[in-house]
């Protein structure tokens, strides 16, 4: 057998799953002593080019409480055409279609290499994707222009049959009717008044036509819903109209007096967007894309008053309980987010402003619905433009890298229970036998809804070993977990992806080294980090840090080898060696430290941390630092101040920022223009190398990171200096040498 490293990697490749422990302690007691919980990072829609979906329905266990999907781990009696569920041990008949089954004629789901398998099922009418733009018009002219162009451009990126809608807001909220010719129509709402979904639908004239249609004729005509909404129209039909409409969009005309913020009714606009979709297209894939250039300043969900003299809340205010509007606004957006999630829609937030825009209050909209959150300085930056463009990126097979309305169902074998999940999801409150009473993250359920997800969306799922110490598991017994993800593919197909994995049990007392060796420190770091960040959302920062510290200490206590009172004797095995370092950087990361970050920034960082896959998460925790020099090929170096050398170019990737830093000497050379001299072409190459690498990262990452090119002594160098471990500072730099 290959090393655990390979095993882990292979599992990740195949199933998109990484467990903190790959050999599981067999009793509850032992499991708790492991400090790091048994948990996994699941990337439900991990791109699998080699995985052709099968065009039939999965076979389910007939026990109503189980309903696990037939998988390679099931025992099959080919003669009796029976299979035993590996979770509940129920014996099930194969359906008639499987009559021809035999050892040599197995369906795909029984083959071991198909531990992850995707079914395409035909259920219900296919509804096209829906994109509802909610656009702030209280922008600077330049910003608005850029945004309009981006939006117009985006129309060409949408699937032709996708439905689009447009809501603009400022002091008022306008819902634009797109079907009409000639005069452009819009429904206007006051920005200060919250309306129920019913009211909104009444006012938009949606409620009445809907009723007779449903009663009059059964839902036979799939196009019916399309026609029923004048506000959402197929792109191909109103492409031109909408382009013109966007082109004519004006800044909010209401005067903004000196010393005031423009009145921005973000709260109501979102509420109407949600209400509109709720009434017309419940439970279909839909994105509400909110573009805002400032904080909501009126109506429900207002974050700050319109007086410029009162600044928007800071962490300081929040700690002192001085943020007047925060609680109410948060509640408003939470309500909206829950409604949206219940309908299977998602909300993206694209906030571009130099000041805060209220992401702290609105974060739940994106967090609970799986929407994107993008923060920038201006809509007129490549950061926004490219990021936005990337939302509509297509995968290798020409399909949009987005899926909608997913529900994730987790099933476990008896020894395990589900403690919770952390990620862009909400609970579906599916209580079952495999749900633990102890909650980690969003718990109390075995099912979650993920309204929008892409191939990299990753959830952390925490388990609890419930097997009692006195009920040993037979040797060779394996614990199994099945993840069933039903979702709407971007092609509007309904699909079900099923991943079933199994791990060995081991007795922690006798086989600790097995368990230890099967520790996935990277996954563990991310899983612990998610827990920490999750707790940080609701707890005081220092408490979380203390908790993290204690966990680390306990882990080291458990797995370290040391002699008492001798720090130098401390050793950790290879599989744990990096873990403390991750924890160190995690403690310093913006996910847990709010100093020097605005509440919006914190929310933004945490949002992304809670959904990225393991690799990206690690980068976030511990930025990657590459060094380029004449001394050899580019190499990763320690994220430490000692890595900053005069003759090096450093490339730092913190996920959110890409920093290229020219060492002192290099910078001088560059100033002297050596790179332009033919004889120093190598220097030119050296300068170019990090740029190329950075470009590569920039091209692929979502959201697009901030790109910073600086040099020794440059003001932007602070981005680098704030990240590195300050082993050398102006205080000790000289002392170090002595």
């Amino acid at each position: 057998m290959a090393t655990y490293l390979e095993f882990i990697q292979q599992n990740e490749e195949r199933d998109g799953v990484r467990f903190s422990w790959n050999v599981w302690p067999s009793s509850r007691l032992e499991a708790t002593r492991m400090v790091v919980p048994l948990a996994c990072l699941l990337t439900p829609l991990k791109e699998r080019l080699d995985l052709p979906p099968v065009q039939y329905e999965p076979v389910l266990c007939s026990r109503p409480t189980c309903k696990a999907v037939l998988n390679p781990l099931c025992q099959v009696d080919y003669r009796a055409k029976l299979w035993a569920c590996n979770f509940c041990f129920q014996r099930n008949q194969f359906p008639p279609a499987y009559a021809g089954i035999s050892e040599v004629n197995q369906p795909a789901e029984l083959m071991p290499q198909f531990s992850t398998i995707e079914y395409i099922v035909q259920r219900g009418p296919q509804t096209p994707l829906i994109f509802l733009y909610v656009v702030d018009t209280c922008l600077e002219e330049e910003d608005l222009q850029a945004l309009k162009e981006s939006l117009q451009m985006s129309l060409s990126l949408l699937p032709a049959d996708a439905l689009v809608g447009l809501i603009t807001f400022g002091r008022m909220v306008q819902v634009h009717e797109l079907s009409c010719e000639g005069i452009s129509k819009s429904y206007v709402f006051r920005g200060t008044k919250d309306l129920t979904a019913k009211q909104i639908q009444d006012m938009l004239g949606l409620s009445r036509p809907a009723v007779p249609i449903q009663q009059g004729r059964p839902l036979q005509t799939p196009e019916q819903p399309v026609i029923s909404s004048r506000f959402l129209q197929p792109v191909h039909k109103i492409d031109m109209n909408l382009t013109d409409l966007l082109g004519e969009l004006q800044r909010d005309p209401w005067p903004v007096t000196q010393g005031k913020r423009p009145l921005r009714s973000t709260g109501v606009a979102l509420s109407i967007a949600v209400g509109l979709l709720e009434g017309t297209f419940p439970n279909t894939g839909a994105r509400i894309m909110l573009f805002t250039g400032g904080p909501p300043t009126q109506g429900p969900g207002m974050v700050v008053g319109d007086e410029l003299k009162t600044p928007i809340r800071s962490w300081h205010d929040i700690e002192k309980d001085n943020a007047r509007f925060m609680k109410k606004a948060t509640k408003h957006y939470e309500t909206l987010a829950n409604r949206t999630a219940a309908n299977g829609h998602c909300i993206d937030i694209y906030a571009c402003a130099l000041d805060q825009t209220g992401l702290l209050e609105m974060k739940c909209c994106a967090n609970l619905t799986g929407g994107h959150m993008v923060m920038g300085d201006s809509f007129n930056t490549s950061l926004f433009k490219q990021t936005f463009q990337r939302v509509f990126n297509k995968g290798f097979n020409g399909e949009f890298r987005m899926a909608f309305g997913a529900s994730l169902d987790v099933k476990t074998s008896r020894e395990l229970k589900i403690a919770g999940a952390i990620g862009p999801c909400i609970s579906l409150n599916a209580k079952g036998p495999c749900v633990s009473e102890n909650e980690l993250g969003i718990g109390g359920t075995s099912q979650w809804k993920i309204c929008s997800l892409d191939p990299s969306t990753t959830l952390a799922i925490y388990f609890e070993v419930v097997n009692q110490h006195n009920a040993p598991i037979p040797q060779g017994g394996r614990g199994a977990v099945q993840f069933v993800t039903q979702y709407q593919h971007s092609s509007t197909q309904k699909r079900i992806r099923v991943t079933t994995i199994a791990r060995n049990w081991a007795d922690a007392q006798s086989q600790l080294q097995h368990i230890e060796a099967a520790f996935d420190q990277e996954a563990a770091a991310v899983l612990m980090a998610r827990l920490g960040v999750y707790r940080a959302e609701s707890e005081e920062g220092p408490d979380v840090l203390r908790w993290l510290d204690r966990q680390l200490i306990r882990l080291c206590q458990k797995f370290g080898q040391y002699n008492k009172d001798d720090p130098n004797s401390f050793r950790l095995s290879e599989s744990f060696s990096l873990y403390p370092q991750f924890m160190f950087h995690l403690r310093r990361s913006p996910f847990l430290q709010v100093f020097n970050n605005s509440p919006d920034e914190s929310s933004y960082y945490r949002h992304h941390f809670a959904r990225q896959d393991l690799t990206q998460s690690l980068i976030m925790i511990q930025p990657i630092l590459y060094a380029y020099s004449f001394h050899g090929p580019p190499e990763p170096v320690l994220l430490d101040s000692s890595s900053i050398l005069p003759d090096r170019i450093l490339l730092m990737d913190t996920f959110f920022q890409i920093v290229i830093y020219l060492g002192e000497t290099i910078a001088q050379w560059q100033k002297a223009g050596y790179q332009d001299m033919p004889e120093y072409e190598n220097f030119k190459h050296l300068l170019q190398a990090p740029l190329d690498d950075a470009q590569e990262i920039l091209q692929t990452r979502f959201p697009m990171p901030r790109y910073i090119h600086t040099e020794h002594g440059g003001s932007q160098a602070r981005f680098l200096l704030s990240k590195v471990n300050p082993s050398q500072t102006h205080n000790n730099l000289y002392a170090w040498g002595q």
């Binding site: 000639g182 005069i183 819009s186 006051r190 004239g205 004519e248 005309p253």
Partner: protein
């Protein structure tokens, strides 16, 4: 005058003066170069030379009326330019036919007359009469000129003056009177004042009839009859006294005068019955009929006399003879007469003329068809004895009278007669407002007003121009003291608009205490350093920049340069202090709000409105000579939700914004909603093209209403301007929204205590909304197109309280109603309008404005607030005593209206009016205006129905009028048999008009009158002016077949009674809302063919809404009459063709107000009897 306008405010005045002077001088020279004008003057000068020289400054008169000390220097100024204007006036004089220039004078007779006057000949009377008759225009201009001179001149001169009826004369008379009066009682002066001016004639109607009647006829027909002339003179004198108006007095005067001969003339008038005799003669004397025809009848009517008189009449000759008997009758001759004697000689001429017309009446009677039959009887003007024996005068007749039930309709006062009399007596001369307490001509008379210190009657009319000094008197008489004010009234082109005075940053000069604005009645003292307020007597410093020296008469030297010192009406430019929020207002906006529910779309209304608006927006009101209107426009359509439109000029296509949150209305856009028409023309056109298309398939039948107004209000708020909403609405707003209404129409409530609820709004919501609208200056005009009950009483609340107008087109059909609607719409959009107006009426200490009627809102007890005020809106103000008034100082009214003009300029319009005060009831009754009284009474009653059962209101109305008349009878009329009904001359039409009010749909609805109609009319009447109420309650009935095809005059109206309709004629009846064309069954086919283009009576279609355009003179004539009438009214009247004996005739008969109505209204005769009974009850 026109010159002045051009010249602008202050300076203009100055200039004109010079001009005049210049002219005059040459004229005086005796050889005026410029042909006509000079000569004219010259003629004048003749008599005046002596005067004129000293007076030179008077040159102004033409404009100002008063002699001033114009600076001679200014004379030099460009005379040429001024000349034209003056010419007009100059010409007038020429008529007088300056002896020398003769050339100028076209009218020989005129010259003669003048000359005669000059001489002081007895004959003046005749000539004068002749003159006015012949050249009405001339006489007008003349007046001013003559006026000045007279003042200083001697009596002889005065004589001259009289004919012109100019102010000056008055003054002269006044002086004379007073002198004379010394012997006589105080009251006379007033009488005198009246007499001389034009007013006299009408008033004295009855009196003059005898005396003057004779004269006029003669002059007219025979002109020369010397004999008559001679008589006339003496008679004329008495007439003066007679002028006091009241018939009663006249009689009294007669005796006093003693001059039996003269008295004779009087006698007839006053004691008509006896004198009546004279009339008959006139009657008989065919000559009269022609010219005088109209006049004479009036006299008769006054004294509703029983048939007997006629008999007597027959016997007696014209004025003279009857006199004596009369005198006997007239026991209580007013003191005024005595003074006259002295004057008589001098002034007689003038008076005679004046009265002349009245005498004409006598003639008139015969002239008019109806009368023709019974010319004789009418003469006994004064008394009507419904049941009992005629007045003593008629001793002879008594027997006849006895058949009381058989009252001859022709014997009772005829509105037609009164109108015609006034028209012929006073229509020809300008009404100069310089004198305090003058009673203006009737509203039905066409006359020109010259503002010489009092507001034109077009702006203010009072129920009485002589106010009792004490509240006791006022209570005793029960005559309501009220003024009907139309602050922005439209003036005929020949009259000058109020001048705009700009006092710069300091704003208008005002009294420190009562805040009254500077006006002609303010008294400057201490060499001009201070002025004493004419209202509260407080002394205020004159601001330094306003200081001016006084001349020796205590008048400011710049008197004529400043409109606010010399005119009755003028405007001030308001400073920022007078503006809301201390900010100058922005130009107002018009918002068109169109109902696009199913009904509106289906009937074609939406398309019609949109089409019309496309062109109409180019005719928004403009200020002065501005090239384009400053008014911005906005568009909204609505059904259950509202659609706003962005029509910003930069857009290629309009944008529609739907607001469905009707519970909490707001305006969804700021920029682009209200736009300048020229800038956004294409976008607007595109919008108006598309609106009908967009809603062509609508199935929405429900509408909202309150949110529509709220939307307009919010839009104006957002734009920070005042404005007007034009709402086109079709149905009861039943959609779920604020202000939602339910159908509560219930005819069973009629005649119950709950009937009033039908007039009250369903909910107070609209009252509150109206309040908000007024605060913002948001005026709401409502066009209703109901197919069923839509609760006008409630929908109209906002319109009513914001000073807007309601137009209602029940069962609107495109084919028949479109023209009417479009005409109304055009007029409504184009008419002059002020916004955000506040009006306050200040009065002399002693009386106080206590009650207000009209379309407005009041947040306190003194200020009338109107979001919008247009040129048709009228406010009736009632005054009550809170102290005593003095006869010497009279009573002053100052109506100040602060408003924003259509270009957004903040202005103050000031109207001043001075009234006399009296201690004698007779003076009060002599100076009343029945039309105005009816206007007040109707409004009062119509408001009463909101709070009391209709029956109570009716009874109160009858009771009040009975008291008024009883008081007169008791205190002013000569003692006579209780069986006689004696009506004051000025109020002789009160019963007939009152009966019309009582029979109106609001107070006595017939079964076919809908609740909405009643509410609609109730609100409509409340803002009507006197002319409108006059015709509304007593419709005009014109025999079309009698129309002279060649002239552009209207045929003589006839009384509203079925008896007067001939089966072989075609009649037209109009009441301001409808025009009926009634076709008799026996009408000649040719007429039918000519008018309707069909060959027979039976083929005439009822459905016609306009008369077919046919190329024949009759058709043209009729159509021109219809057009003429339409122009006169503020609303386009609905034309209804009624065929005799057709179903529709029932509707038509409803408007024959002298007849018994189907809904139970009494006939005129019956009502008169009833009134008489009431009066007798009160007296006993």
């Amino acid at each position: 005058m026109s010159v002045n306008q051009q010249a602008h405010t202050g300076p203009p005045y100055g200039q004109p003066q010079p001009g005049y002077q210049g002219y005059q001088q040459p004229a005086y020279g005796g050889q005026p170069l410029p042909g006509v004008p000079q000569s004219q003057y010259g003629a004048y000068n003749g008599p005046m030379p002596g005067y004129q020289q000293p007076v030179p400054p008077q040159g102004y008169f033409p404009s100002l009326g008063f002699p001033s000390k114009g600076s001679p220097v200014s004379l030099n100024s460009d005379t040429s330019s001024l000349a034209p204007n003056f010419i007009g006036s100059l010409r007038a004089p020429p008529t007088s036919g300056a002896p020398p220039p003769a050339s100028g004078a076209s009218l020989p007779s005129g010259h003669l007359a003048y000359s005669q006057f000059g001489h002081g000949d007895v004959q003046n009377g005749i000539p004068t009469s002749a003159a006015p008759m012949q050249r009405p225009p001339a006489s007008q201009p003349f007046l001013p000129g003559s006026a000045p001179t007279p003042v200083s001149q001697t009596s002889t001169f005065q004589q001259y003056g009289p004919p012109p009826a100019s102010v000056q004369q008055l003054s002269n008379h006044m002086a004379g009177m007073t002198i004379g009066s010394t012997t006589a009682s105080a009251p006379p002066p007033a009488g005198l004042g009246y007499g001389p001016p034009t007013s006299v004639p009408p008033v004295s109607g009855s009196f003059s009839t005898t005396g003057s009647g004779l004269y006029t006829p003669y002059t007219a027909s025979q002109g020369p009859p010397p004999t008559s002339v001679s008589q006339g003179l003496p008679l004329a004198q008495p007439p003066f006294p007679g002028q006091p108006i009241s018939t009663q007095r006249l009689p009294t005067q007669v005796p006093g005068f003693a001059p039996p001969p003269s008295s004779t003339g009087i006698g007839p008038s006053s004691y008509p019955p006896t004198t009546g005799a004279p009339r008959p003669p006139t009657m008989s004397g065919p000559p009269l009929p022609g010219q005088t025809a109209a006049g004479p009848p009036a006299s008769q009517p006054n004294h509703v006399s029983s048939p007997p008189p006629p008999a007597t009449m027959a016997g007696p000759h014209p004025g003279p003879h009857p006199g004596p008997p009369m005198s006997g009758l007239h026991g209580p001759p007013p003191p005024t007469h005595p003074p006259q004697p002295g004057y008589q000689m001098q002034q007689n001429g003038s008076f005679g003329q004046v009265r002349g017309p009245q005498p004409n009446y006598g003639g008139a009677y015969p002239g008019t068809p109806n009368y023709g039959s019974q010319p004789g009887p009418p003469p006994p003007p004064k008394r009507l004895d419904p049941d009992s024996i005629p007045s003593p005068q008629l001793n002879e007749l008594p027997p006849q009278q006895k058949p009381r039930h058989r009252i001859d309709p022709d014997a009772i006062p005829s509105p037609i007669q009164v109108i015609e009399d006034d028209r012929s007596n006073r229509g020809s001369e300008p009404f100069v407002t310089g004198v305090r307490g003058q009673v203006p001509p009737l509203v039905t008379t066409n006359f020109v007003v010259k503002d010489q210190g009092n507001a034109s009657p077009r702006y203010i009319r009072c129920t009485s121009y002589n106010i009792p000094c004490t509240s006791d008197m006022a209570k005793q008489s029960q005559v309501p003291l009220a003024a009907v004010i139309k602050p922005l009234a439209t003036l005929p082109p020949e009259e000058t608009l109020p001048y705009l005075v700009d006092h710069g940053e300091s704003g208008p000069v005002r009294c420190n205490r009562c805040k009254a604005y500077m006006c002609p009645f303010m008294q400057f003292i201490e060499g001009g350093r201070r002025f004493q307020c004419c209202f509260c007597s407080c002394v205020t410093e004159v601001p330094p920049h306003y200081f001016q020296h006084l001349d020796h008469t205590g008048k400011r030297v710049d008197f004529y340069d400043r409109p606010e010192l010399s005119l009755g009406s003028y405007e001030f430019l308001a400073t920022v202090d007078y503006c809301k929020n201390n900010k100058f207002p922005s130009p107002p906006a018009f918002i068109f709000m169109i109902d696009v529910s199913y009904n509106a779309v289906k009937s074609g209304l939406v398309r019609l409105i949109c089409e019309e608006l496309k062109s109409l927006i180019d005719f928004l009101p403009r200020e002065g000579n501005m090239e384009e209107s400053a008014i911005r426009v906005g568009f909204v359509t609505y059904n259950k939700v509202l659609h706003f439109y962005n029509v910003k000029s930069s857009l290629a296509q309009p944008q529609m914004m739907v607001v469905s949150d009707v519970a909490d209305m707001f305006v969804p856009l700021l920029d682009g909603f209200l736009v300048n028409v020229n800038e956004s023309r294409t976008v607007i056109a595109s919008l108006l093209d598309q609106i009908p298309e967009m809603f062509a398939d609508t199935r929405e039948t429900e509408t909202v209403f309150a949110p529509v107004i709220q939307a307009g209000l919010e839009a104006l708020k957002a734009a920070e301007c005042a404005g007007k909403l034009f709402i086109f609405h079709t149905s009861l707003p039943i959609a779920e929204a604020p202000g939602k209404l339910k159908n509560r129409d219930d005819k069973k409530l009629i005649n119950t205590d709950k009937e009033k609820t039908l007039f009250q709004p369903q909910t107070s919501f609209y009252n509150n909304l109206a309040k908000d609208c007024v605060a913002q200056g948001c005026c709401v005009d409502l066009f209703l197109f109901p197919n069923q009950y839509l609760d006008v009483a409630t929908l109209g609340v906002v319109t009513y309280q914001t000073g807007g107008s309601i137009y209602k087109y029940a069962y609107f059909q495109l084919e028949t109603d479109q023209d009417r609607f479009l005409n109304d719409l055009r007029r409504d959009v184009q008419k002059e309008v002020g916004f955000d107006a506040v009006m306050r009426v200040r009065t002399s200490t002693g009386i106080r404005a206590t009650d207000f009627f009209g379309a407005f809102y009041m947040s306190n007890t003194t200020d009338v607030e109107m979001a919008g005020l247009d040129c048709d809106k009228t406010i009736t103000v009632e005054f009550k005593h809170d102290d005593k008034l003095s006869e010497d100082s009279g009573a002053l009214l100052q109506c100040a209206l602060l408003y924003t003009s259509c270009a957004g300029q903040r202005r103050l319009r000031i109207h001043n009016l001075s009234l006399n005060c009296c201690t004698q009831l007779a003076d009060l009754y002599r100076n009343c205006e029945t039309d105005t009284l009816i206007n007040y009474l109707a409004k009062h009653a119509y408001r009463g129905v909101l709070g009391s059962p209709v029956k109570t209101v009716r009874d109160a109305l009858i009771n009040q009028c009975a008291q008024i008349l009883a008081c007169y009878r008791k205190n002013c009329a000569s003692p006579s048999s209780a069986g006689q009904l004696i009506l004051p001359e000025c109020m002789k039409l009160l019963p007939v008009y009152l009966n019309c009010v009582l029979k109106s749909d609001v107070l006595q609805p017939g079964p076919e009158v809908t609740t909405d109609d009643r509410a609609y009319i109730r609100q409509l009447v409340t803002s009507m002016d006197v002319a409108e109420t006059n015709v509304f309650f007593y419709p005009r009935l014109l025999p079309l077949t009698k129309a002279e095809v060649d002239s552009d005059s209207l045929p003589a109206a006839i009384r509203n009674s079925e008896e007067r309709l001939s089966k072989s004629d075609i009649y037209l009846l109009e009441n301001g809302l409808n025009i009926f064309v009634w076709v008799g069954v026996n009408v000649q086919q040719s007429l039918i063919q000519n008018l309707f283009g069909v060959s027979s009576f039976s083929q005439i279609s009822n459905a016609l809404s306009t008369l077919p355009v046919l190329e024949n003179s009759f058709s043209k004539k009729v159509r021109s009459i219809v057009d003429m009438l339409q122009v006169q009214r503020s609303r386009n009247m609905k034309l209804i063709i009624v065929k005799q004996e057709d179903k529709l005739e029932m509707l038509f008969k409803h408007f024959l107000v002298e007849d018994k109505s189907l809904s139970g209204g009494a006939s005129y005769v019956d009502f008169l009897c009833h009134m008489h009974k009431e009066i007798r009850q009160l007296l006993s």
